[in-house]
């Protein structure tokens, strides 16, 4: 563990992202939490989380890396459980599983090479790192915790989760797979498209943002798989700023109007412009319009795949990038253009300390703006932005068209969808149905409590021992 690790080419963007995010999270926490006790708790937890983050960035071996990851996880778990204990539990358990997998992989690497140092992972143990960091970075099917945790956490905590915590998975992937690794590209493209697709449907603003995070993580994973960790790191920085802004401003909207449902928020931009403007500004940068850092970075990711990648991979990434504009439009446009006369009066409960919220959002916006309009900042992160637009213009065009079509079709379908969105992977997490229930039933047979059963089991056990030994 050494502090010099903090400033190497990969870690520096993460460090910068963490710095800005934690500051603005503390500031927005001052506004978000009403009770003084909660405020103090949040400050303490942010301190713990930042300590964990610095530990993660500065640690030189995998064990310490996991150690600090766990500290970060625990403090974030505690933050989430201030509002939603159930989602917090899901978050904690999934992250513990991830840490366990990484530990197993680390142990394997140690057995293989005799060293714990962070670095490329030898072949037989890659799957554990992929699975562990896959849970952290929300690979498809391993992403079950992400919409729950990001959607239901308090807004400052969501910002930290989406801005920093999931990026630790990317960081780990960059460290473990410095060389090009084709499966990661595959996973990344699927993930980018899947996240974007899922983000079209929900009516809950924060859920949309959560799936959007997943989509962007897919871009980063693809970049890692292509072997260009610097681009992934720079993307992580940019995305951290954007998502921090979006989640905090979504929190402002929620607090101001008492709901996160887009349908209920129709036209609210006219009522309370400041609250909605912050969200919209963030969405503008996030959508990846030409000239923003998102645009630049997405193109870098696509071009980093190179010519060896199958044709559909850049295609899907391009489509996912276009869909980002679509779903962000989905949640911001109704705020201004729809009439909310049917919905009654949205509540205004904010007092004087809205200033904190505005302050935190402003910090983030400034950073994003700086990031977006001065691409040279990316050079500081040693990213070669030798910007070449997507290799095939026609392909990009077709992809954009396909994305638009999907959005349009989804818009037509949207009215019939209930508030929670599509039936989701979260069904698996309920105790009353799904895998956990089966799990529970199986374990019920383990203690019959009868004596002759015991003797029988002991005999069978002895026979097995006799046969094997």
């Amino acid at each position: 563990m050494s502090l010099s690790n903090l400033f190497d080419g990969i870690n520096a963007p993460f460090l910068a992202a963490g710095l800005v995010l934690y500051i603005s999270a503390v500031i927005s926490g001052e506004w978000y939490f009403k009770a003084p006790g909660e405020r103090v708790r949040f400050r303490v937890l942010v301190a713990a989380a930042s300590a964990g983050s610095i530990g993660i960035l500065s640690s030189g071996n995998w064990l310490l890396f996991v150690f600090f990851l766990e500290i970060l996880t625990l403090s974030l778990w505690s933050m989430i459980s201030m509002k939603e204990p159930r989602a917090a539990l899901v978050y904690l358990l999934s992250q513990l599983a991830a840490a366990g997998l990484i530990l197993v992989g680390t142990a394997g690497v140690y057995a293989h090479t005799g060293s714990l140092a962070i670095g490329p992972v030898p072949e037989p143990w890659r799957v554990f790192f992929m699975a562990g960091f896959g849970i952290k970075a929300a690979f498809p099917l391993l992403h079950f915790w992400l919409p729950e945790a990001h959607g239901k956490a308090p807004s400052p905590a969501s910002a930290l989760l989406s801005g920093f915590a999931v990026k630790t998975g990317i960081l780990g992937l960059i460290r473990a797979f410095p060389e090009p690794f084709a499966p990661l590209v595959l996973i990344g493209t699927v993930m980018a498209f899947f996240g974007a697709f899922m983000a079209v449907f929900p009516r809950d603003i924060k859920r949309v943002l959560a799936y959007s995070t997943m989509s962007h993580l897919g871009f980063m994973t693809a970049a890692v798989g292509a072997g260009s960790g610097e681009i992934a790191a720079a993307y992580a920085f940019s995305h951290a700023m954007i998502k921090g802004n979006l989640f905090i401003s979504a929190g402002i909207v929620e607090k101001t109007f008492g709901t996160r449902d887009i349908f209920a928020l129709r036209g609210s931009g006219r009522l309370h412009f400041a609250a909605v403007a912050a969200l919209t500004a963030g969405a503008f940068f996030a959508a990846g319009l030409p000239g923003t850092a998102s645009y630049l970075l997405k193109n870098s990711v696509i071009s980093s795949l190179g010519h060896t990648a199958p044709w559909w991979q850049p295609f899907m990434l391009t489509a996912a990038g276009m869909m980002a504009a679509g779903y962000l439009l989905n949640i911001t446009a109704p705020l201004f253009f729809r009439d909310n006369s049917k919905n009654g009066t949205p509540k205004h409960e904010e007092g004087g300390n809205i200033i904190f919220a505005v302050l935190s959002v402003t910090i983030l916006l400034l950073v994003i703006a700086a990031d977006s309009f001065f691409p040279s900042i990316l050079h500081a992160f040693r990213v070669d932005t030798g910007f070449t637009p997507a290799s095939d213009k026609l392909e990009a065009f077709i992809a954009s068209a396909a994305a638009g079509l999907i959005i349009l079709l989804a818009r037509l379908r949207l009215k019939g969808i209930p508030e929670q969105g599509l039936p989701d992977i979260k069904i698996c997490l309920s105790m009353d149905e799904g895998p956990l229930y089966a799990f529970n039933r199986v374990s019920g047979c383990c203690h019959p409590g009868r004596l002759n059963t015991f003797v029988f089991v002991a005999l069978v056990f002895l026979v097995l021992l006799m046969l094997t030994l």
Binding site: L103, A107, Y110, S443, C446, L451, L462, M466, L469
Partner: protein, 496 residues
């Protein structure tokens, strides 16, 4: 010299208690406390001797071939330390709860202490069985001590199942004696090499099954949850923290001495048992509504972890197993004491009714939180470190599935411990009900128990941080090296 005293002093204390009882109906607490201190210092002296200069004492002056020997090396003294700390804590809790009244309880307690030291020190297979008998009988009685029908039933169950285990240990011993004509374990480790394959199969199957039943590992764990959950608080803590560890020591000692060179499959079997145990214990704990049963099933799972460490058949695995045994002693004893006191006060053991405790008794809840975080394996605490060492040694032995089982176990255990903790911190009934409700039962404040829980929690933190330093790691790995170094043990006993 000191080795014998570690066994005889507790036994003499147990024999003296009825004599004192004749003079006085209720024994003074200080008397029992002093006896306990003397006994524990005797076992600590043996541990000290065994750690710094491995020692053999020949009983009756006979050579190891014809007599009985007591041996203390680093493995024994590590477990002596575990039993010493654990029994001391349990005795303090029992004294605080019962006072000097139930003198037979203390007599049985000291008998148990003596027999545990006997198991840990003996170098003779039959002597091991004899001490196992005392140990088991005393344990059955301690379980049944509270005389409620649950306790009696659990004691009876424990008796029957424990006797089956003892039967198989005896059968294995008899087979060993028939095949070789020797009972000394060090000499047996040399003699078993020339024993035919089929006989060795019978010996190893019988011994492994018997000792596995005694440890309470998964397929034959049925006695454990009942016994641990229906006993008194101090006894549950003792059972889970100490008694199980003694059986694990016996398993380690016997397997490493006998089968390391002759029958390596035994260790594979132990690994499988351990993995099953870890999964099964955690899954069952997830279902429990009774807090002490939950802790008992968690013990089954933790035994599984330790057995995975043993099953690596390497120095690193043995060291990790010992380290986890020590940690589990600290964590589970603290958890049992805390849970027992809390549920005594609430008058129920159902988790969903143990609410509002954070307001009423924050220190207990704090202690419980730290200890359960340790047992789940939250990083700065010792549970994480020992699990990490077990995973490391398991991966080093080339088996990944046990390591994955441990990782999965972490998640499941986090789920059920969080359920308990969330019940503790949720607002209690008294907050909603009317303030004129009859005041809760008056219970004496349990300063000693609270101190024990607190100090164990501190110890957990300290050990977790200490495990990072190479110095303490060196200490632990020396235990592992001693455990697997059969040649050194044989040389120590035979004097060659």
């Amino acid at each position: 010299m000191t080795l014998v005293l570690a066994i005889v002093v507790p036994l003499v204390a147990a024999f003296l208690i009825p004599v004192f009882h004749l003079a006085r109906k209720t024994l003074p607490v200080s008397l029992i406390g002093i006896m306990g201190l003397i006994s524990l210092s005797a076992s600590m002296a043996a541990a000290y001797a065994g750690w710094f200069s491995p020692e053999v004492s020949l009983l009756g002056g006979w050579a190891p071939e014809i007599g009985i020997v007591l041996v203390a090396d680093r493995l024994s003294s590590a477990f002596l330390l575990i039993t010493g700390i654990g029994s001391g804590a349990a005795l303090a809790c029992a004294l605080e709860k019962f006072g000097g009244g139930p003198w037979r309880f203390y007599a049985i307690f000291f008998l148990l202490l003596g027999s545990m030291n006997g198991i840990l020190l003996t170098g003779d297979l039959f002597n091991l069985f004899v001490f196992y008998e005392i140990f088991s009988v005393a344990a059955y009685l301690l379980v049944a001590f509270s005389m409620s029908w649950q306790a009696l039933e659990a004691g009876l169950k424990y008796l029957v199942l424990g006797t089956i285990g003892a039967l198989f240990i005896l059968l294995g011993t008899a087979f060993t004696f028939m095949a070789t004509g020797i009972l000394n374990m060090a000499l047996l480790s040399e003699a078993l090499v020339s024993v035919p394959r089929e006989t060795l199969t019978a010996i190893s199957a019988c011994l492994v099954l018997g000792l596995t039943i005694k440890t309470g590992a998964f397929p034959v764990h049925f006695w454990l949850p009942d016994a641990h959950s229906s006993a008194q608080t101090a006894v549950s803590a003792l059972l889970s923290g100490v008694l199980v560890k003694v059986s694990i020591y016996a398993l380690m000692r016997v397997c490493f001495l006998f089968f390391l060179e002759t029958n390596g499959t035994v260790f594979l079997a132990i690994t499988v048992i351990g993995s099953l145990s870890a999964l099964g214990g955690h899954l069952m704990a997830l279902r429990q509504d009774d807090i002490k049963r939950l802790l008992a099933y968690s013990t089954v799972a933790q035994i599984g972890y330790i057995l995975i460490g043993v099953g690596c058949a390497s120095a690193a695995g043995a060291a990790a197993a010992v380290f986890h045994s020590f940690n589990h002693m600290l964590m589970k004893m603290g958890l049992f004491i805390a849970a027992g006191n809390v549920s005594d006060e609430k008058g129920t053991r159902e988790i969903c009714k143990l609410t509002g405790l954070w307001k009423e008794k924050p220190f207990w809840v704090l202690g419980f939180t730290v200890l359960s975080a340790a047992i789940v394996g939250i990083p700065p605490l010792n549970g994480f470190m020992s699990k990490w060492f077990i995973i490391l040694s398991s991966a080093g032995a080339g088996t990944v599935i046990p390591a994955l089982v441990i990782a999965a176990g972490t998640v499941i255990s986090a789920a059920y411990y969080l359920r308990v903790l969330s019940a503790f911190v949720s607002p209690g009934e008294s907050d909603q009900e009317d303030p004129f409700k009859s005041s809760p039962r008056k219970v004496r404040s349990k300063i000693v128990s609270l101190t024990i829980v607190g100090s164990f929690a501190m110890f957990c933190l300290a050990l977790g941080i200490m495990a990072f330093s190479p110095f303490s790691r060196e200490y632990f790995s020396s235990i592992g090296r001693t455990a697997v170094d059969v040649g050194a043990y044989v040389g120590l006993v035979t004097g060659r």
